[in-house]
């Protein structure tokens, strides 16, 4: 089989407008006859559900949390990019496009990225109109800052809570539609299977997390906006509930999974403190705008930071990358932290940490300004570590934060299962092998507000869908499948808790498929994952029953899926014999230790198909063409 990305031909500047014109419209009077199922209520899901409701479709929206406002988009701190050029510093749609393709290390699809840059300006307008309280200058204009590797100030922000404010904007738009009756919300419902009829996505099976009841919902198209799979590492900056189940089970029903090994390690997280640790907390990388990163020059230097004189400190990012300094992209910053810690120069009790120091910034700008910029982040750091970052440098270490891989989608965000659309972090489309800071919020809202509402219309207008009901064998089979998984998990009653398995899985994936990878390690990891998976299905202990709120049962199902996904990540990482972005294969690096791409052989998207547990997945490649941004070695020197 081959993959048709449906990328429009012709000049890239006109591609999206042309596509919008070429797409068929659904007659306004007919829209209410279509039933659309949206799974997930984060930036992508809530904005999609709200916009589809406004257009007049009949929408059902599902989330596993108690309210759509809890989705993990809420935790994004730093900001959202838009090519407004309000600062007159030379930004443009083309520059944002260029930066994103380059930042993604030439593993993203140009047409998608260009559209994202184009739409970025509409997102800001939309969010302002909704009342998102973006930071303002004294004249009342929108304020900007530069963020994570960008040389222009194009990031819009709402203190350190940009994700929260954008999500609440989308959530409020969604609630407005719920009130209007165009969207029906189903909180505390978890999607556990996809219903495919005549080759098209026609419904989902969900479990009501309060009553335990299994129910099927049928529709004309299914939209997954269920986020990323970073929790495969157990310790991550994701919310505890973030999981891969919806996209993984859709994968098992035929949706190809693209670039699963492209995961992003965020350089500025609070280091691990003990075995009980349940998650890692990110400190926004906007901190790198003013903080300086350093470690002691000598290995094993145990002096407290204030006792280490300037001459005995190594500001290693400023030294190695004089033009970008502390603002190098995330993958570069993370890998360099690992290099200095591996060399024994790490700080803190575990030696797995580097300093992020604000002493110079406080001297230069004064504490009040630093407080205004980062006050809530400093407070958060203080709450968790008990240390005051105004006085002592912060300690930070990289942690898994975002997954660029996800279900494969074409230019219109449709997966390889017709009628199944995938938005936001759940798809693979826009960030290539590495995502730039402040681009996740942009993509989620672009997909949800401005792309899907058009493309789903074209699908509905051009597809003849048969009327179906719940007695179809495909529906019964999916329900039976979900019930069987639940019963099997509950019946084992073994000796190990779900969390202990999850923790062990996470350590394998982090050690062998984390910040750096090599062939021998990946092969070893695949073996270990298979063994662990067998042990899980033999010895896991899921207490309680399936008839009421059972958080252990919910988690067990998610961990079971992570166990399968982890193997695919390693297979993908092993297959890609090059280093690019967040995927660093130790065998492929330059003499200076930078990632060495192999464009001749690996300039493709790896889209994997499921062939059943124990059978190797099948690989189909989508070749990437770069007409506008010519692949070059990334250099931030």
């Amino acid at each position: 089989m081959s993959l048709d990305s449906r990328s429009p031909s012709g000049p890239i500047e006109e591609a999206w407008d042309q596509t919008k014109f070429d797409m068929k419209l659904v007659n306004p009077a007919n829209k209410r006859k279509y039933n659309l199922l949206v799974v997930g209520s984060g930036l992508a899901g809530a904005s999609a559900a709200a916009s589809l409701g406004e257009l007049g479709y009949n929408v059902k929206c599902f989330c596993f949390q108690d309210s759509p406002r809890r989705a993990h988009s809420i935790a994004a701190q730093g900001g959202i990019n838009a090519a407004k050029n309000y600062q007159n510093d030379g930004d443009s749609i083309f520059r944002l496009f260029y930066d994103t393709v380059k930042g993604g290390d030439f593993r993203a699809r140009e047409s998608n990225v260009y559209r994202l840059a184009q739409i970025s300006v509409n997102i800001i307008d939309q969010c302002v109109a909704q009342g998102v309280p973006f930071a303002r200058e004294y004249g009342g204009m929108l304020a900007n800052r530069s963020f994570g590797g960008a040389q222009v100030s194009r990031t819009f922000y709402a203190r350190g809570q940009t994700g929260q404010q954008l999500l609440l904007g989308a959530y409020q738009a969604l609630e407005r539609q719920i009130h209007a009756g165009s969207v029906k919300m189903f909180p505390r419902m978890e999607m556990l299977d996809l219903i495919v009829i005549d080759g098209r996505a026609r419904g989902i099976v969900v479990r009501d997390l309060v009553t335990g009841k299994m129910e099927s919902y049928l529709g004309d198209a299914v939209v997954l906006a269920t986020g990323g799979y970073g929790n495969v590492y157990y310790l991550s900056t994701n919310a505890k509930g973030s999981n891969t189940t919806a996209i993984w089970r859709a994968h098992k029903r035929g949706a190809r999974f693209a670039n699963p090994c492209f995961t992003q390690i965020h350089p500025t997280c609070i280091p691990v403190s003990g075995d009980y640790q349940s998650k890692l907390t990110l400190m926004s990388e906007s901190l790198r705008n003013d903080g300086r990163i350093w470690v002691p020059l000598k290995a094993g230097d145990k002096r407290s930071p204030d006792q280490i004189p300037e001459a005995e400190r190594d500001y290693y990012l400023e030294r190695r990358y004089p033009s970008f300094g502390n603002l190098v992209p995330r993958d570069v910053a993370s890998r360099n932290a690992k290099i200095v810690c591996d060399a024994g120069r790490g700080v803190g009790e575990t030696g797995l940490g580097v300093y992020l120091d604000f002493a110079d910034a406080i001297k230069r700008l004064g504490q009040p300004l630093i407080e205004e910029r980062y006050g809530n982040l400093f407070e958060m750091y203080n709450r968790i570590t008990g240390e005051d970052p105004y006085k002592v440098p912060m300690r930070i270490y990289p942690a898994i934060h975002y997954t660029m891989g996800g279900l494969w989608v074409d230019y219109r965000l449709m997966s390889t299962v017709p009628g199944l659309f995938v938005l936001g972090e759940a798809n693979f489309s826009d960030h290539g092998a590495n995502r730039l800071g402040a681009s996740a919020l942009m993509q989620g809202l672009s997909d949800g507000y401005f792309v899907l509402p058009y493309t789903v219309g074209d699908y509905l207008a051009t597809t003849k869908l048969e009327k179906i009901n719940g007695s179809r064998p495909e529906v019964l089979e999916a329900e039976h499948n979900v019930d069987a998984i639940t019963q099997r998990l509950l019946a084992i009653k073994g000796d190990r808790t779900v969390t202990s398995f999850h923790r062990e899985l996470g350590k394998i994936v982090w050690d062998y498929c984390g910040m750096s990878r090599n062939a021998a390690g990946l092969e070893h990891a695949i073996g270990k994952i298979r063994e662990l998976r067998e042990e899980f299905w033999r010895d896991v202990n899921v207490p309680g029953s399936g008839e009421d709120l059972n958080q252990q049962l919910e988690n067990a199902g998610r961990v079971a899926d992570f166990m399968e996904l982890a193997e695919l990540m390693c297979i993908d990482a092993l297959d890609r014999n090059e280093s690019c972005g967040g995927h660093f294969r130790e065998e492929y690096q330059t003499e200076e230790g930078e990632a060495l791409r192999d464009d001749e052989h690996y300039s493709y998207v790896a889209a994997w198909g499921w062939n059943g547990l124990g059978s190797p997945p099948s690989l189909v490649k989508e070749q990437l063409e770069f007409e506008y941004v010519h692949p070059s070695q990334r250099s931030y020197k």
Partner: protein, 246 residues
Amino acid sequence: MNLTLHVWRQKNAAAKGGMTRYEAKDVSPDMSFLEMLDVVNEGLIAKGEEPIAFEHDCREGICGSCGFMINGVAHGPQRGTTVCQLHMRHYRDGDVLFLEPWRATAFPVIKDLVVDRRPFDRIIAAGGYISASTGSARDGNTILVPKQAADKAMDAAACIGCGACVAACPNAAAALFTGAKITHLNILPQGAPERYSRARSMVGQMNAEGFGQCTNIGLCEAVCPKEIKLEVINKMNRDYLVGVLA
């Protein structure tokens, strides 16, 4: 350190609940409160008992999922802090802690420490938005917002919808929550056209959900993890009054 916990256990909404005693051993001061409960739960599962159900997700103090009463105080003793961000270094060896769910007629218990907070969503649905359908917006900088207004709006918009304000209030009023959203939107020029109707509808819904009336006690402000100020309630009352009279 070792702690004694008395935890509210209730199988489901219909069942009768009660306090059960547990010992939390070898608690590290660097653990978060929820990590301490994780460890207790792992122990319960190993013994074949059902773990304590509590709500949580981001564990960074922003999603608003978590929250319960610790010794009668919503989110526990540290000001401006959700229970997921509360760390055990604030406790001493031998402490005895009583954990209970939010108590309010409008927030029925679902299980153990988990309650149903859907009334909050319905208050937002009644008017907690600016009617700006996708695609209709003009350039962002055509609407000037004075910095002071943007800052005040942001202060109010920081609400995470956790419900601590309701749980702390002797009247189980939702005035701080509702007032925060009304203040956020009504202070901004974009929110002006729907200002009074918004206050009227949201307050109407708040009353219909069975929350009590605000009598200016101020416990809500004291426990709010985002330190939302009581003045949002003044703003709500003022706009509501105009909304009903006009």
